[in-house]
Each structure stands twice: as structure tokens, then as C-alpha cells.
Symmetry: C2
Subunit: 435 residues, 2 copies
């Protein structure tokens, strides 16, 4: 890795034999940084930047990437925004140039802000028509009340409808600074070439001397920039029971608790717990809910983690006729883990599953680029793959039992999306799990 | 590639540097082979095979793969079923053993057939709650009336509810024969080892001598096994206008025609056409509908192809308020292509995009395994990547114009999923496009 003297970090992973190159510009700006009237500004901006730069129209940007068979896209999360391209190795310099141009030099014209307003309102309607997406946003609001990760990245119809060109452009000007960015590149390239291309793309944006320091600077995110009322602590009851009515055939359930932030020392134990409880085909919930009872097509557990908070949750989608039994089975399994922990066999299998899936997940340049970029941006200390795997290997049954007891011993938050007008129509077995 | 003397084909692609191995057993059985009372039997069977074999319970199968961090899954399509695993290279022999065991030696117990019946009925409900999945199945029915690719792979509530253990087991016994299968493996493995593992897994199933013939046998699918009334020819009007009512915020539109089967000489020209019309960010429809007018979040064109039929279609998801304008814009662009073909620049860019995306799509072992397995199973002649790319490169503007004229010059079939009780509520601009 290199750190240019304007604060920009450039990290490369050369993948021998790779025919492709993935280029990502990661910007440490996301929805947690937004004030309420700017809700969705980071995502809105992500859309608008593709509409044209001082040297290329939107059409020219698309045509240049399409002509070489590449992909150019972006996504916005709570804590960061990533712009990326994937191209054949011979086109890597072009990809770096275009992605940097989009990120650094967009025009943000009033007309384009208005056009993208319509597109984003369509995207919100899509989210509302997708039961699982709706559930994800509603559960986040329930489990993180008052915390910015509880708000949707996309914003709301009201915030998007009301946001001006000046607000969007101001967000861009203030937030998109080199010291808040990481350029991550992986595939069939060499670091020296990448640094050269990046310096050319950033020319004129402050001192670009390569400090050559392969250390990791201190600007990684350690907490949301936005200050807001915070409620709840790990494992505490959060939003209780919430219902979003949709006239659909299935009921979609998310049950869970506020859990651990990204760098918490018990994160690895929590991952082992979530994997054994509902991380794969041999997990408890998949066996009990789907394989032994045929109650649902999908049932799984997972975690989220951010700088200062996180969650543990269980998802199931099932017929409303089965919701009572599904809730009871999930509740019983969670209670069983709290009371008795996991067996040694479950812990061994969960560790194997986590380790294997992390390594298998890094088989292509794109995933390696993502790992580098995200890790540099969000962690105060860069954690290598070996460290990550060693942390998993070191987890003990006692740690897992302790985490389960702390997090899952109390009432849960629950959100249901389905054919229910209000929470009183939900089965008692579900209501009992919620404090 | 090797052909064992029981007819089984075994094909390996060694990927230097790959840490993973992908193993797929591709079976030439799919929904096009099913009679109406067996509708969904291939997919149903795919579920049931994971419930246990003569030597492993369902739980043991899942635990063995989870313990090494692998993935084990399957999918069913109209013309084939694929069972696959993805593991670290050191576990490749285990993966071959397990996938072959599942495919060859499942018990198909009555109790498991009943359990999976519930799971599949949940899966049908999920499809019904997903507007785009619903649209895909409804459009296929509209554009392929009377042809088996017009029927959903998953079957219907009626066919799944009524299917007996004997019917599912009979489908398995009759259809899962070695000469109808391809074992495809890609990643950090050698072909000799793969053949050895496969022969061990198939032991006792007929003569297993490796014929050593690196040629491609003739059993590839050239048409659906099921005979049914066939209607329509390429470009002809198919099912007219159909509507599926859903109480949702967006309207989802699919417009298109019956087009070309997989091996038709004009397939490459059709791909170039679809790419230029709606295949990427610089395509006509993406520019006109989203970038210039902000009418939709998604708008794209695509093709499907099977042994004896295919389709060309355009998708858009938009607010009902925008459906009239979206339909008019799509209709005008298609008419413009019919009248004037594509520019040289569009053709050059579409070729670059197709070529690049094919190569980029083969960067990981899993996609290479899929390419080998599917190609061997569905094409009468194995087509190499070089041949595929050369076919694209050879496409001329005249060929594209001819294909556009033949396929898109007449009325289209259209399907809408959205808040419409019947087709009379749809905008006139859309109705006019349908014959």
C-alpha cells in the first residue's frame, strides 16, 4: 500500500493468472453521516456522479466502459460508498481513470439531480414491493432505534423529494476528500502501475508525492460522524414488535437483538454462534425449521456490524399458517443455546464453515478488491486474512456460551412483513419472545 | 474430457493458482421433459435428493460439507438439473463423492417427499410474492404458448400437491442415467484424479472403463423430450397482452417475441442486437428510459434460448404513472431499430461488451465448471470459447438489421404485473404494440 501526501491510500493485490482487474474507489461517506434533512444524500450523490464529469458526459462514461466489455457500478452503505469497475487486465489504466474521474470530477448539474430524483423514487417503490428488503429496513429501525444505522441508506420519499441540487452538491464538495478515500485494485496488475495511474487521475488535487509508507493511517471510521440520541446497549430490548402490512402470501419474520460492533473482542465468537444456529444447511434452525418440519423455504441467522453497534438476527419466510410454529421453534432453539451453549461438534463445524467460506469468497479479484478497500476504510487497524482466521480458530465453547447468554437471554425485537393489519393479529408464540 | 463406457462424460478444467474446486453433476432432465401431471417433478426431485442417500442421512450430507466450509446446492432449469459443490482444493475428492452420492443414491423416502412438498409450496408462494419472478413465468407462458418452456420449472400448486412419492421416485429411476449426465470440475485439480474419484463414485453402475475418447458424444439435447402442441414461430405474435394483478407500487412490464433457438446461425447477431438495444448502461433503452427521462430504475433487453425455441424481451419496472411513456419509448426504439438497424459504433460497442463480459464471467472456477457442464449437456457440438467469441466478432450490421426486421417488425407479446385488475386498464400506448 502507498499513502500519497494528500492522504489518499492506494492498495493493490496482484493476483497471478488473473485476466481481469477490479478497481474500487472507496469513500468514507455513508448514510450514518447524514442529518435528517439529508437522509439518503450519500446514495443520491452516488447516482448523480455517473451523469457526467467536466471532461465526459454520462453517455461517454457508459460507452467507454461498455466498449471494452467492462462493468462500472457503485453502491452506498451506512458507512461508506464504493465506486468500482471490472475490466480485462489490458484496460486497467482506463478503468482507474474513469472511476477516479466519476468520483472526483462530476458536474452535479441541476437537471441531472432532478432526473435521478425520479429514478431513486422508483428505487424506493421497488424496495417497498420487495418483502425482504422492506423487512430489512423495518427491522433495522426496530433494533437500532435512535441510531443512524437504523435509518435506510436510500432515504425516504420525503427527504429525496425535498433535497435540492445545492444540498447534494454541498455533500459532495464537503465529504469527497482524498484523505477519506481508498483506491483498492486487485487482479492482473502491478502496484507501481496503479500508483502511477492514480496520481495522474488525482493530478491537481493537492500534493501527490507518494509517501511510500506501507502503514495504515488513522482515518478509518471508528464511529458515526452524525451525533444523535443513542438508545439501547448490546442485548438490550430494542424496538419490540413491529408489523408492516403487505397483501402477500407469505409472512416474513426477522427476530433479533442489538449485538456487537465490528471490533469487539467477542465478534468471532458471535460469528461462530450465528453460523451454528443458522448459518448453513447443517445449522440448527435450517434443520429444525426446514429439513425436519418443512415449515419454510428459507430460515437463517446472521449478524451485522458497524463501528459502534451491530445486530444478531434470525430470518424466516413462511406461510402465515406456519408463523406460530416457526416462532416457537426459533424461540426454543435460541433458549436452548442460552441454556446449554453449543456442542463441540457444532463449534468445530461452524469454524470450518466460516474459514472455508471466507477463503472461497476471495477466489476472484473483485472480492479481494472489496476486502482491501472496505477493511482499510472501516477498521482502525488493518486486519490480515491470517489474523481473521486465527481469531475464528481461537474461539472457545465458553466464549460462545457467554456471548449467547449475554445477547440472547432477554427479550428480542421482532418485525413481520405480511398480511397483518397490526401486531395484535400475530401469533402469541411470537409475541411472547418480544419483551 | 473422458467418456466412461457407461456413457458418463467427465470434463475437467485445471485452473492454475485456484484455491477452490467446483464440482457439478449436470443431469439432462428438466421441466420440458415433464407431462402435465408431473409438472415440477424435476425440481421436486432436486429437493428430495438432498434428504438422504443409502449411506448418508440428510444431516450427514450437510454436516460433511459445512465442516469443510464448502457449499452444496442445486438448481433446476427447463432443460437440465445441476447439483454442485464448491470446496477448497484439498477437499475435492470429498466433494465429488458427496455430489455423486446425492445424485445417484438418494433414498426418496415418502416422509421426505411430503416434507419437501411443503417447502416447495412455500417456494411457489415466494415466487408469487416477487413481482419480477411472477413476471418471468407469466411472460414465458405468453410468448411460448403450448410449448413446454412456457411452463414454470417449479410446477403448480395443483401438480405439486398431487404428486406421489411413487411418481417422484419413478422420475428419478427412469431419468437419472449416466449417459444423460456430465460431471464437470474446474479449479485446482487434475483430470486424472477427477476421473478416478468419479469412477469410485459410480462403481457398480455398469461398465466404467474409461474410453479415453476426448470426443463429444451425441446425447446432447436437441429438442424437448415431451411432445406437445407447438404454436408460433420465431417473431410471430404469441400470447398477446396478459396481466397479473398485484397490489404493489410499481408496474413491471415485459415485452417481446419468440426468437431463435440456441444453435440458430443468427444467434450471435441477436445477442449483438439485444446488447445494443438494452444490454448495458450505454444501450439505447437504458439511455432513453432511465438516463434521459428518469422513468425507471431498471430497463433492459435480453434473450433466452433453448433447444428449439428462444425469446427476445425487454423489461422495465416503473411507476404506473410512467407506464404509458415507458411503453411508447420502448416501442419507438424497437421500431427505429427495425427501420434503420444499428450504427457501426453501436455494433462495435456491443461486440466489445459481449466479448468482455463473457471473458470476465469466466474468472472463477465455478463459472468455468458451469460453462463446461451446461455446454456439454445442451449443445450437439461442443463450442469452445474461441469459437463463441469468433461468432460474435463476425456479426455484420446487415445481419443485425435482418434479425431485427424479422423478429421485431410485427406485434409483440406483453405481460404486466402490477396494480391492474385487467388489461383494459393498461395504457393505449402499450396495447398498440401488441398485435
Amino acid at each position: 500500500m502507498s499513502v500519497l501526501s494528500n492522504g489518499l491510500r492506494v492498495a493493490t493485490e496482484t493476483v497471478p493468472g488473473a485476466r481481469s482487474v477490479s478497481v474500487g474507489v472507496w469513500v468514507g461517506v455513508g448514510s450514518v453521516d447524514e442529518t435528517p434533512n439529508l437522509a439518503g444524500a450519500s446514495h443520491y450523490l452516488e447516482h448523480v456522479l455517473f451523469k457526467g464529469t467536466r471532461s465526459r458526459t454520462g453517455a461517454q462514461i457508459s460507452e467507454a466502459i461498455d466498449a471494452v466489455g467492462g462493468e462500472l457500478n457503485a453502491f452506498t452503505a451506512h458507512e461508506y460508498t464504493c465506486y468500482y469497475a471490472r475490466v480485462l487486465a489490458a484496460e486497467a489504466a482506463l478503468a482507474v481513470d474513469i472511476v477516479c474521474d466519476v468520483v472526483l470530477d462530476a458536474v452535479v448539474a441541476a437537471q441531472d439531480v432532478d432526473l435521478e430524483r425520479s429514478v431513486i423514487l422508483e428505487e424506493i417503490a421497488m424496495r417497498d414491493d420487495d418483502p425482504e428488503d422492506t423487512l430489512g429496513d423495518a427491522f433495522a429501525a426496530a433494533v437500532f432505534p435512535g441510531h443512524p444505522v437504523g435509518d435506510p441508506v436510500i432515504g425516504s420519499v420525503a427527504s429525496i423529494s425535498g433535497m435540492s441540487r445545492g444540498q447534494v452538491a454541498g455533500w459532495y464538495r464537503r465529504r469527497y476528500q482524498p484523505e477519506r478515500m481508498v483506491v483498492a485494485v486487485a487482479g492482473g496488475v502491478e502496484h507501481g502501475d496503479v500508483v502511477r495511474w492514480v496520481r495522474a487521475a488525482f493530478a491537481g488535487r493537492g500534493d501527490l508525492a507518494d509517501s511510500g509508507v506501507a502503514r495504515f493511517p488513522a482515518l478509518a471510521r471508528t464511529g458515526p460522524a452524525r451525533t444523535r440520541r443513542r438508545t439501547g446497549t448490546a442485548g438490550a430490548p430494542a424496538g419490540g414488535l413491529s408489523v408492516v402490512h403487505r397483501d402477500i402470501e407469505q409472512a416474513h419474520l426477522c427476530l433479533g437483538v442489538r449485538a456487537l460492533p465490528r471490533t469487539h473482542p467477542d465478534r468471532a465468537a458471535l460469528e461462530v454462534l450465528a453460523t451454528a444456529v443458522g448459518g448453513g444447511m447443517s445449522s440448527r434452525l435450517f434443520r429444525r425449521v426446514r429439513e425436519e418440519r418443512g415449515l419454510a423455504y428459507s430460515c437463517y441467522a446472521g449478524t451485522s456490524s458497524y463501528a459502534d453497534v451491530g445486530s444478531f438476527s434470525v430470518y424466516a419466510g413462511c406461510s402465515p399458517d406456519n408463523l406460530a410454529e416457526v416462532s416457537t421453534v426459533i424461540g426454543a432453539e435460541l433458549a436452548d443455546v442460552v441454556a446449554g451453549g453449543l456442542t463441540d461438534d457444532e463449534i468445530r463445524r461452524a469454524k470450518g464453515q466460516l474459514t472455508g467460506s471466507i477463503i472461497l469468497g476471495l477466489e476472484d479479484p473483485e472480492s479481494r478488491m472489496s476486502r482491501i478497500g472496505r477493511t482499510l476504510l472501516v477498521r482502525p487497524d488493518y486486519r490480515t486474512l491470517d489474523t481473521q482466521l486465527a481469531d475464528i480458530d481461537a474461539v472457545t465453547a465458553q466464549q460462545v456460551a457467554a456471548v449467547a447468554g449475554t445477547l440472547l437471554g432477554g427479550p428480542l425485537a421482532a418485525t413481520v412483513v405480511g398480511p397483518y393489519r397490526d401486531a395484535r393479529r400475530l401469533p402469541a408464540g411470537l409475541t411472547r419472545l418480544v419483551g
